[in-house]
């Protein structure tokens, strides 16, 4: 018998005795014969931190969360402002080379760009990406409740682009702003069905650690800086 069968056998044997339901102290157990595989779980959206209904409220909450996380968030009035905003940041940070991937918002951002740019779409050299100053990506969603950016292997130039370079720049559209993680998951399901990318990540602020005396330090292994541009549309 394989270990798979052995372990599943032990589990089935163990579960023959029912366990008391949570919160029912010493109370009766639920019958568990018929309900195996039942997916009725409580709707908990209302218990999580509150999020406003309009885009303005959500953007304001996202901006506040981003500030608390020491990420930069810029809400631009027009898509045409993207190149200037990007170039201003690049100049201020003194970037020499950036890495990115193909995408319509990225093409808009890089209009008039003079910096050397590497693209990951046809593969990349890890050492070159590591030595670059910034990684520019699109995303799947922005999450107002937590100030997070949802990236995926498909939408954001692979797995490493959003974590290996020391500065991560995200370009997003206002329509990508969602209330909470649940809404972000619903969006993924609508977009991909069963064919999820092999990698998804909620990025919440720059890389951080508190492992030395519980003191916050940014840029432990991933980016030291995170900048998010959001444009209408």
């Amino acid at each position: 018998m394989s270990d798979r069968e052995k372990i599943l056998g032990r589990i089935r044997e163990a579960l023959r005795l029912p366990a008391p339901h949570p919160g029912v102290h010493g109370g009766a157990s639920l019958d568990q014969g018929e309900d195996a595989g039942r997916r009725e779980v409580p709707d908990y959206t209302d218990w999580l931190p509150a999020v406003g209904r309009t885009f303005e409220e959500r953007a304001a909450l996202f901006a506040k969360n981003a500030a608390d996380l020491r990420a930069e968030f810029f809400l631009l009035d027009n898509e045409s402002e993207l190149p200037a905003a990007f170039q201003k940041l690049a100049a201020a940070q003194g970037w020499k080379r950036i890495v990115t991937h193909r995408g319509s918002l990225i093409d808009r951002t890089l209009i008039g760009n003079t910096l050397p740019v590497g693209y990951t779409d046809q593969g990349y050299v890890v050492a070159e990406m590591e030595a670059s100053d910034a990684g520019l990506t699109e995303c799947e969603a922005l999450v107002a409740q937590t100030g997070s950016v949802l990236v995926s292997a498909k939408s954001s130039g692979g797995r490493a682009l959003s974590v290996l370079p020391p500065h991560h720049i995200v370009v997003a559209r206002a329509s990508q702003m969602v209330a909470d993680l649940g809404a972000a998951f619903a969006g993924l399901k609508a977009k991909y069905g069963e064919q999820y990318p092999s990698f998804l990540s909620f990025i919440t602020g720059p890389s951080r650690t508190g492992d030395i005396e519980r003191i916050l330090v940014l840029g432990a292994h991933g980016p030291k800086k995170l900048t998010i541009f959001c444009v209408p549309g």
Partner: protein, 468 residues
Amino acid sequence: MIASKDFAARSRQVAADLTHRGFIHKALSGYELKRDENIGKFQNWGAARQSAAEIKWETINHLDHYLVEFTSKLEARGAKVFWATTGQQVCDYVSDLARDKGAKKIVKSKAMTSEEVHLNAALRKAGYEVVESDLGEYIVELAGHAPYHFVFPAMHLKREEISALFEKELGTAPTRDPEELTMIARKVMRQVYCTADIGISGANFAIAETGMISITENEGNARLTTSLPKVHVAIMGIEKVLPNLSDLALFLPMLATAGAGQALTGYNSMIGGPRQPGEIDGPEEMHVILLDNHRTQLLADPEQRDALHCIRCGACLNVCPVYRSVGGHAYGTTYAGPIGSVITPHLRGLHEWKHLSNASSLCGACTGACPVKIDLHHHLLHNRRNAAKAKPAWWEKIAYDVFAWVMDRPALYRLAGKLGYWGQKLHPLVERTFLDPARSWTVTREVPKLAPEPFRDLWKKRRQSATT
């Protein structure tokens, strides 16, 4: 029993080290403030805990169903699944894999299951270079310590100690700046990610619906570990599974809040399989190891089955007066604190580890802090009861028999009370000396004084004065 003697000796030592306790207390007080602030942002934290407990109950009580769903989905996406009954099987599987791949260097992000099965030692013995990438784990590994806490592994070390350690091991210049210290490790680790042949991670959750594992971290080391090396190995306990991807919308904020006082942890990544067709990067192979290692034994105890709901946030350690006094190294277990005291007897033997359940004030702070509502302090009592039932200590049995015999005889009980009262008057003559029969108590504590007049005498007098 060796484990219990070690525990007592180490506890005594740390509890007397007021500097150390002050340091730990300060670190955990900061956590409490941030945690309370974030709990306050929830519209209903209590209801969120109940929902989380119900979801975990549903999963654990249909674990076979969800594990089959999880593994078949994951395998359909090209990952290999290995079921391991014992820790040794995990070590063998990873060693064999490393040999087959011709690997030299292995990078790891934090996995408590790998601590549980002593994977690093096994791989090093087999000749592989193994580097822990989580900053705290990296530091404790360099120092040759076990993790002090399963969320904050190096919280017992002061920056000066870490600086001295880096100076000795890496030849870097001394510094008191936590940022500079972090950057030293970052620089070392960057080279490791780019050259490692295998990346090993843990998993905080596994999603049955989509066949994904979910990894929670702040540093980005787990992302790099699971992105750059050609082979990714994830090790997880069989209890980590959740039914739906959307369940993470509840569990990720709760883990962050209960575990570290954050609204959400820096990176929450869901990985379903190796690099898929059309994707740019990612490992060519993904192996997921499901570890039993006596978890099914805990599952077979319906009374304590909810201990498998644990999401390893560490909240119960952070609030525990015992953990805060004796520290994480006193336990001598992979999982310290209240949850460790509850599950270790199941994972490693009741009689060798029952002493941990006695090291509790039964204050219930752990139960109150648990985001999935595990009845921790009652389980400590259950362990005590089970241990006494399975193998009663002879002296305990005699003591209780005598006690019951006296309590059954009012005249004897009265006499014992009188003797106790007069005996206590003589006690100061021998208190804390080797002649003191209550020495093990009086060394560190005051003896409660018996009242000069027993309650029954007072009651009798009161009744008499009422009738006259």
